[in-house]
């Protein structure tokens, strides 16, 4: 058997989606952004909706997401992506509109836009990357930095008496009548990546139903900001982040999922 016989369509087990551009990712090795980018682009490719998708990039590490995704994209001001998405979806109800936002963007400076967009029931998809830190600006405390966790602005660990509590915004928005699907996933193991892709697919498919916001939180690592190796970071994520932010569906088809019955 020669090489040409092996390289055949039926033998391909993995292929890079052409919807990812050839531009080298600007993310640190081991970061979950790259994986999540790939999942979104695979879903768009598999659904065949490239010509009807408009993506909105945030301010943060993924500010340059439009460099890596071969789709029409808009760069929004910090936290404002849900409002930008509203403006597009209201004037182009037939298009697929998604925002891609980090924790500082979505759950701190953009909390108002997030909550009101979800409460209005805009028929869009929100992908929320939660790595518990401001990665781009160098590892400052984020709204989702967990108690005791160190960052450059909580160098002795997050002291909740002084700095307040992490915001479980996903739990919060699941309560709103305008959300139709709310799920928390992670991308730290092959199994979790497969589950996250299913959730992202559902979140895009839901836009056909016109029933409100589909929201997928992806708990991700920030090994640079956490000052860990990628492997250490994924282990720390599983033991600490997922304990505070448990993975699973919070709301499916407009119905809250009972506690402890997460899929």
């Amino acid at each position: 058997m020669n090489l040409e016989e092996i390289i055949r369509e039926e033998n391909i087990v993995y292929r890079r989606t052409p919807l990812l551009t050839d531009k080298a990712l600007s993310y640190c090795p081991g970061c979950g952004h790259g994986t999540t980018h790939r999942l979104i682009m695979e879903v768009i490719e598999e659904m065949g909706i490239q010509s009807d998708v408009i993506g909105i990039a945030p301010v943060g590490c993924s500010v340059l997401a439009y460099e890596f995704m071969d789709i029409d994209m808009i760069e929004a001001a910090h936290g404002r992506a849900p409002a930008v998405a509203t403006g597009i979806k209201r004037t182009w109800p037939g298009k697929y509109v998604f925002t891609y936002q980090g924790d500082g963007d979505l759950a701190a400076i953009g909390t108002s836009e997030t909550i009101h967009c979800c409460n209005r029931g805009e028929n869009i998809t929100i992908i929320f990357i939660n790595n518990g830190i401001y990665g781009m600006t160098g590892g400052q405390m984020a709204p989702t930095t967990i108690p005791g966790m160190k960052s450059s602005t909580s160098p002795f660990g997050r002291d909740t008496a002084m700095m307040g509590y992490p915001l479980k915004i996903t739990e919060l928005i699941a309560q709103l009548p305008g959300t139709y699907y709310v799920s928390r996933q992670s991308v730290h193991t092959p199994a979790s990546v497969r589950k996250a892709k299913k959730a992202i697919r559902k979140a895009f498919e839901n836009q056909k139903l016109n029933k409100g916001v589909s929201f997928v939180e992806v708990v991700s690592n920030c090994n640079s900001g956490w000052k860990m190796t990628p492997v250490q970071a994924n282990k720390w994520l599983e033991e600490n982040m997922l304990a505070y932010f448990p993975p699973g569906d919070l709301k499916v088809d407009g119905q809250l999922v009972e506690q402890g019955k997460t899929s």
Partner: protein, 358 residues
Amino acid sequence: MGEIRLMKGNEAIAEAAIRAGCDAYFGYPITPQSEVLEYLMAEKPHERTGMVVLQAESEVAAINMVYGAACTGKKVMTSSSSPGISLMQEGISYIAGAELPCLIVNVVRGGPGLGTIQPSQADYFQATKGGGHGDYRLIVLAPSSVQEMADFVKLAFDLAFKYRNPAMILSDGVIGQMMEKIELFEPIPRVNEFDQSWVTTGKTPDRQRNIITSLNLDPYLQEEHNHHLQEKYARMRREDVRYEAIACDDADYLFVAYGSSARICQKAVQLARKKGIKAGLLRPITLFPFPEKILGDLSQSVKGMLAVEMSAGQMVEDVRLAVNGKIPVEHFGRFGGVVHSPEEVLEALEEKIVKPVV
């Protein structure tokens, strides 16, 4: 002849938006311009033309909704009043940086801070010098009648798309709230005939992906982008300066005023002429680009100018730059929400210009 209606300035803006083929309005209530959103909601433009109207949770959200719809080539607008426009400055800077066409209406009230709900013209600097961060300009139109409130909606959209630049209608509480008889222009179809090659409506197989951003991490590229913006503003200065000259031909003294102050100065010109003072009025219609050439030309024939504005003196700086020291230029205006009378304006002309010059 178009339909004749008796309307408030704010209502005229709203009705004109529907007739101008506007695709979407996003806004947040604030006095003295809430009638714009109220009129639009009551009028159900979705049934008339398909226009989208949505009340946002804040001015910050409203301007970002405008940003989103503008990215897709839609004719989109918002309106607010001074404190709300301050909140929008971040979004306006992004819109200018990303070169998106849209219309922002500011029905100005007295400031600073929460100020007062009474009329003012103290947002001139904010409107004409940028307003948010970075080197950028808006196209700024200053209506002085309810008729112009309607007509300038159409004009503002045309200019915004001509230059791919945000346009602002800088009005004030007087023009927004007063009622006048106006002739409405005939509705135009909600079809955008401007270049759409740059819009983000989904990457089709026949083109590269479109990206809309105001980000250039490379400073040399950002400098290049800024040069491009400056060239655009220079073209506006060459091609789209608008003004009205009233009784300027034989004038010895000139009022320079826009918006409601121009209406007051029109009366002051009549009062002055009755007293034998040959006064005229130069009314800038575009505050950016500012009619500096005509003011420079007029400085050859008049003895002095009085900039009249409901502020502590903002436009007067541009008048002085245009005149470049050739003749005296002074400022008069009541402010903080107080409107000057024609008599006060004439008295100021006599005190500050006529007496010292003679």
